[in-house]
């Protein structure tokens, strides 16, 4: 079965530092996403990316966040100046998005971000 791969699995960073979370989506998928989940809480949408640009973003996704797909395979989420409340599990997902075909939406294993 195809896989979405995220690195690192766990990142500890000091408040105010920049972090980059990396994802390798499924190669023939069209839509890419970042979600986060604070422990014990719901899964929150951050941003979706299609055709090399942001297609939608949530209120959480403010100027401190950015996404890139620099080389056509990797999909990164950058948090410029981390806050304590950014501590969460961050999930990357990719969606095949083919019209009238079996749409698949797979998630990576997540990156646990701890801001201290």
């Amino acid at each position: 079965e195809p896989e979405v791969t995220q690195t690192p699995s766990h990142q500890v960073t000091q408040m105010g530092q920049e972090v980059i979370l990396r994802c390798v989506p499924i190669s023939n998928h069209l839509y890419f996403y970042w979600y986060r989940q604070i422990l014990g809480q719901k899964v929150e949408f951050l941003v979706s990316f299609y055709n090399n640009e942001i297609s939608e973003k949530s209120e959480i996704f403010d100027d401190q966040f950015s996404v890139e797909r620099p080389d056509g395979s990797n999909f990164t989420l950058k948090i410029r100046s981390t806050k304590l409340e950014d501590s969460a599990m961050y999930f990357c997902a990719s969606l095949s998005g083919s019209l009238r075909r079996n749409t698949e939406a797979f998630f990576g294993q997540g990156t646990r971000l701890t801001v201290v």
Binding site: Y33, Q37, K42, S55, L95, N102, T103, F107, G110
Partner: protein, 114 residues
Amino acid sequence: AQTVTQSQPEMSVQEAETVTLSCTYDTSESDYYLFWYKQPPSRQMILVIRQEAYKQQNATENRFSVNFQKAAKSFSLKISDSQLGDAAMYFCAYVRNQGGKLIFGQGTELSVKP
């Protein structure tokens, strides 16, 4: 705006029994996809089953099946012959055709009693 609602924060089932998790959604779209994800304590999001809205036949994957009622906007998950390894948080999710964001329900915590 599309919404997904899971009204059961917690459910419990005896091992080998059957349990049904509820999910309702709201959308004005006619073409969309629905998913159930399992999140075990490792917190990985594992795709359990998917349903295309244009298909009337309910999806099945081994012990997992759905009851998709398009008119009622209901998408329940049935787990047959429950196993201890089925214990997890289960999320229902929606996405419209041709992308857009995946919209998640609040989750249902399923426990399986031996």
